[in-house]
């Protein structure tokens, strides 16, 4: 079959913006077999494989695409599975445009090969057609504890289980999956996919213990006492940051973590939920990252009549993935760029202290910004324009300006050192911490980052733990 020299990727079939803005179903619907075959034919199968160097877990990309091209979809899955434990997840949430696809030769003139879309296709095909459950590898007799069941923990657990380690994953919440279940919304990553990945791990012999808060229920030292020979800490990012402006405790102000946890993990998006959330009204989301996009699009689907994104820099500096921003705009979310909140305004009835509306958000006061000199990271620093304050009428505000690492493990583990931001200090090539036998990766180390970089860190640590315990 001749190579497909089209300059454009096969488009991703998606729900129409006006439709999807009112449901929690997945936005992108995935390639058909025909589209996958056609897209795979765009790959030039370059000898030097630049795309692989752009992948944090080094998936053998040209090799799996060649299998797709042959129509051997299960074979393609097996190629991906050699290096990635969560292809159905990564095919959906990886920022391929800054990773594998940014290195694709086809991208020099035209669009790169739709590597992420093909990865998703292959993983979904496997999940729909695979008949054999994974089987446990022969035991090597070693026990390893993994703290946290998010992307880094699941990856680390999966890699170790494949090598015959007896792995126990300790999860603080009642459901495994970490940020994949409490943070990323259903319309970007269906929970059934995460559950499938967790079930696969269990089939491979991994024990998943929920309701275990390491640092509280058990400490790392106690885990060693229980016979675990190495520990991987993938406890994720922690407490949400706030702006420290007046009005942040008003009723109707949420952190993005709280807003998304209510909707995703606690299923507040249901018509008759058991956990409440603000539905409808006008919503302002403060921040410009992927989490802000998720919160804004969730608010819209919960029935908001108007959703604003308030970000203090311009579109060029917006840190969210381009695709997410585009989706948000198509759905009708209004971007208030170069604006910074200075105060959240609330209702106060001076005549009735018991008025239930007291303390409810009525608006957000912002000031316009302009870009000044570049800061140390080269991003132009936003400077307030004096006298330019204005008020947006809103009744819900979601603050999405980042998180700081969770203090629970650090404060209960002697010998585990953290940097000035609270991130666990590790050796980059191994994930080894300052405490013997303890490895770490993901947001607990780096602060809020991507699913795939956390998976990469889980992988690196799994390899290092294997070397450490094989000595």
């Amino acid at each position: 079959m001749a190579a497909n020299m089209s300059l454009k990727k096969n488009p991703m079939p998606s729900q129409e913006p006006q439709v999807r803005a009112h449901n929690f179903g997945e936005v992108a619907l995935g390639y058909s077999e025909a589209a996958a075959l056609d897209e795979a034919a765009r790959c030039l199968n370059c000898k030097h494989m630049p795309c692989v160097s752009g992948c944090p877990v080094n998936i053998h990309i040209p090799e799996f695409i060649a299998k797709v091209r042959e129509g051997d979809f299960e074979g393609a899955y097996q190629v991906i599975n050699q290096t990635s434990s969560l292809p159905a997840v990564c095919g959906r949430v990886c920022p391929q445009e800054t990773q594998c696809e940014s290195k694709c030769v086809r991208g020099v003139k035209g669009e790169p090969v739709g590597i992420g879309r093909l990865e998703r296709f292959v993983a979904d095909w496997h999940n729909a057609h695979a008949t054999e459950a994974p089987v446990p590898a022969p035991s090597n007799g070693h026990k390893v504890a993994v703290i946290g069941s998010g992307p880094s923990g699941l990856t680390c657990a999966g890699d170790l289980a494949k090598k015959g380690y007896k792995v126990t994953v300790f999860e603080a919440l009642h459901t495994a999956g970490g940020v994949l279940v409490y943070g990323i919304p259903e319309f970007r990553l269906p929970k059934a996919i995460v559950q499938k990945e967790v079930d696969n791990l269990k089939a491979m012999g991994v024990d998943v213990k929920t309701n275990m808060v390491i640092g509280k229920t058990l400490t790392i030292d106690e885990l060693f006492g229980m016979g675990y020979e190495a520990v991987f800490v993938g406890s994720g990012a922690g407490l949400p940051s706030f702006m420290n402006i007046p009005g942040e405790s008003l009723k109707g102000v949420y952190s993005a973590n709280e807003f998304l946890t209510r909707s995703n993990l606690m299923k507040a998006y249901l018509d008759d939920p058991v956990t409440p959330i603000s539905k409808g009204g006008k919503v302002a989301v403060v921040g410009g990252g992927n989490v802000a996009m998720d919160a804004a699009r969730t608010a819209l689907r919960l029935g908001a009549e108007k959703v604003y994104i308030i970000y203090r820099r311009s579109m060029d500096e917006l840190p969210a993935r381009h695709e997410e921003v585009e989706h948000a705009m198509e759905e009708g979310i209004e971007f208030k760029l170069l604006n910074n909140p200075v105060e959240i305004l609330g209702y106060h009835n001076p005549d009735d202290k018991r008025d239930p509306k007291n303390g409810c958000v009525t608006g957000i006061k912002c000031i316009r910004m302009e870009l000044g000199e570049p800061d140390e990271r080269g991003r132009r620093r936003p400077v307030p324009v004096e006298g330019s304050e204005f008020t947006l009428d809103v009744d819900t505000v979601v603050i999405s300006i980042g998180t700081s690492p969770n203090p629970l493990i650090k404060s209960t583990t002697v010998g585990l050192e953290v940097n000035k931001h609270g991130g666990i200090i590790v050796e980059e090539t191994t994930g080894a911490t300052t405490k013997k036998g303890v490895y770490a990766g993901g947001d607990a180390v780096t602060g809020a980052a991507t699913v795939i970089s956390a998976m990469g860190a889980g992988k690196v640590a799994a390899k290092a733990i294997d070397e450490y315990l094989s000595k």
Binding site: H174, T217, N244, S249, S255, T261, V274, T275, P407
Partner: protein
């Protein structure tokens, strides 16, 4: 799943349960809390630990039936199971080195105050307890407090039992008589704690309050339990639940506590209707 090994009604709206949770029982300290879900797809609710038996591996909870989830919880019997039970969460109450302490509990808050009084009493501290209730029917744990205190004041708002008046009455009397304490520790409704703090302030005695804001994960992730303490944002789940009472912004905490009141009332009614239908 976590087994309910014992259940006892303390009054028409307050129930005590012992839950089999050996990992939590092994670590629990006075002042810490747990989070539970009654059923799959249930809501997560925080409850402060009212006691623990490390040998039996059980944790005691005492809860007031105020909403849908506590209503569902109260419909469970000994031998039934809870879906989830996680803890111990939060920082323990600091009791080390205290020689003379006044514990002030209000309503179901007394359930949380009791293990603190017991721990202090066991450590040889002189404990004065003031416990207050709306009326005689709502009185709980009197005998337990008697056993853990050197001096006990029982107050009711309507005078139907003990002394007539709120918890600040004996507190003010003691302060006026020049009595000194190393610490005043108070647990109960926000408005009561606010008044206890105000009554204690002129004495300069340190006053610790136990906060119980709205909470979801309880592990330092969602930020829903935030409070203004000393002008800064603090998180009850990891920084608390105990805070310096002089620094807590009670007015903002009281307002935030009502954030979902309409929803909660509706959900509670729905749950009651559901149970009533089952009975019919």
């Amino acid at each position: 799943m976590y087994k309910i090994v014992a259940k006892k009604c303390l009054n028409p709206t307050v129930t005590m349960m012992d839950i089999e949770a050996p990992f939590v029982a092994a670590k629990a300290q006075p002042g810490q809390f747990i989070i539970l879900r009654t059923d799959a797809d249930g809501e997560r609710i925080p409850l402060t630990i009212a006691g623990y038996d490390r040998t039996a591996g059980t944790v005691k909870i005492i809860f007031q039936i105020v909403g849908a989830t506590t209503e569902k919880l109260n419909h469970k019997e000994a031998g039934d199971f809870l879906q989830d039970f996680v803890g111990p969460l939060g920082m323990p109450t600091e009791i080390e080195g205290l020689k003379k302490v006044c514990i002030v509990g209000g309503g179901v808050g007394c359930a949380i105050a009791l293990p603190i009084a017991q721990a202090l009493h066991a450590a040889g501290c002189e404990v004065t307890s003031v416990i207050g209730f709306r009326n005689k029917d709502l009185l709980i744990l009197e005998d337990e407090f008697k056993a853990a205190s050197d001096r006990l004041f029982v107050m009711t708002d309507d005078g139907s039992y003990g002394r007539h008046g709120n918890v600040c009455v004996p507190l003010n009397e003691m302060f006026e008589a020049g009595e000194k304490f190393d610490k005043v520790i108070t647990i109960g409704p926000l408005i009561m704690m606010k008044f206890v703090v105000a009554a204690t302030k002129p004495t300069g005695i340190p006053c610790v309050v136990s906060m119980n804001p709205i909470m979801i994960d309880g592990t330092g992730m969602c930020g829903g339990c935030r409070l203004i303490v000393g002008g800064k944002t603090k998180f009850a789940c990891v920084d608390g639940p105990d805070f310096n009472g002089y620094e807590v912004d009670f007015d903002s905490a009281m307002e935030r506590g009502t954030m979902f009141r309409d929803f909660e009332r509706h959900a509670h009614e729905e749950t009651c209707n559901l149970f009533n239908k089952e009975v019919k």
